[in-house]
Point group: C2
Chain length 213, copies 2
DNA sequence: TTAAATTTGAAACTTAAATTTGAATTATGG
DNA sequence: CCATAATTCAAATTTAAGTTTCAAATTTAA
């Protein structure tokens, strides 16, 4: 069993395993991934999984925890006694955060793919982590939408509109093979600014249109 | 090897296998699904997979083909010499088709989940089928968006706006565990009309707003 | 009705992957 | 520097799943 001593070499083995496992799990999914391929890529022995994580599933859980723990949460903040920034600014911050996240160099490319796998086929025990990390985003976008639609907007409309905004971001972030094939020019692009600008403009136009009705 | 005679009982075995395999592949994904569970649910012997489909992967391919072949393609048509219906009507037809599809009784619930798996982790050899079935939808929504945005809209804007509309539909159709958890009230709903109405209203407001800028 | 072909069933076989084992190596604290 | 604990390694074991086999049952066509 892993020891409290945690010397540098052992920590390195553990880190390499998570790194390699993240890539392979993202490529193949939990079940199609083999521990051999993981340990080969990590350059460690097969027994290291058992030693550091007990088994393949605990390794997977550790990988998910690692990926989620690195998710940036960078809301547009404001002082408690000051008025909040205009919803348009918060909307842009929301979209920017979600889209930049999956391109950021501090966040390996496999994180988004891995989470996409989880969304299609959630594994148990991770619901709690997801809730903790995703609920704040949901509340944030709902607040933005509520501010733009105005105080009289029914809750149902707020929820649906929040989903409409989020779904556009998700299509970029958890881009699938299908999207890639349909619109290669959009997903190859180096810079995300046009995508961010579009989603913000599209969503703002929609929300303002809904309000004026 | 399957015979040309295709008597009723054999056809029934084949049908039950595809049905059961569809459910199990959708629940667990291609790799996590076991042939034993499939044959158990289908109430047939393990050898039936070998006999009718050669192996697990051919069975999977048959299931995907089956699911895709049932995808309804019901564009809003018009006579060749008549003007096309207004884009607002075509937009509603597009959204309705995609959303109703996944609830339609003729199309079991597992179809959408199965295709969601394919989107996250495509298996080879099916690209062609996808292209054949999905490209028409892409062209259709792009035409709608182009008509609403007007002849001067840049191609880039048209593509992005088409993605924005489609992404909203996909969120409903390929609803994930996450969406279910975040908005149970929306996904439990019996009737899709409010969802359709929202997506149409949101998208129309957005497109008109973009045009007027 | 019968012979040939098709389909199904139960069990055995094969393969591949996960896990365990125990020895060898490396690090740590006294 | 030694003793002890932690870690790594290569090989063996176990497990689980897909596939094959062949005999029995059923269907088809003459």
């Amino acid at each position: 069993m892993p020891n409290v001593k945690n010397n540098a070499a052992a920590q390195e083995t553990r880190r390499r395993l998570i790194e390699a496992a993240g890539e392979i799990f993202a490529e193949r999914g939990l079940h199609a991934a083999t521990t051999k391929e993981i340990t080969d890529r990590a350059g460690v022995n097969a027994a290291a999984i058992n030693y550091h994580f007990r088994d393949k599933f605990e390794l997977y859980a550790a990988v998910i925890r690692h990926a989620l723990s690195q998710a940036p949460v960078a809301f547009l903040t404001h002082a408690a006694d000051a008025p909040p920034p205009p919803p348009e600014d918060r909307l842009r911050a929301y979209v920017t955060n979600i889209l930049q996240d999956f391109r950021s160099s501090s966040r390996p490319a496999w994180h988004a793919t891995l989470i996409a796998h989880e969304l299609v086929q959630p594994t148990a025990a991770l619901q709690a982590v997801m809730e903790e990390l995703i609920r704040p985003w949901v509340d944030y976008i709902e607040g933005i939408v509520r501010d733009i639609l105005g105080p009289d907007a029914p809750r149902d409309q707020i929820i649906r509109a929040a989903m409409s905004v989020s779904s556009q971001c998700f299509l970029y972030r958890y881009k699938s093979q299908l999207t890639y094939w349909l619109y290669p020019q959009l997903l190859h692009e180096e810079n995300l600014q046009p995508g961010i600008d579009h989603i913000v403009a599209f969503s703002l136009a929609a929300l303002r249109g809904l309000r004026s009705q």
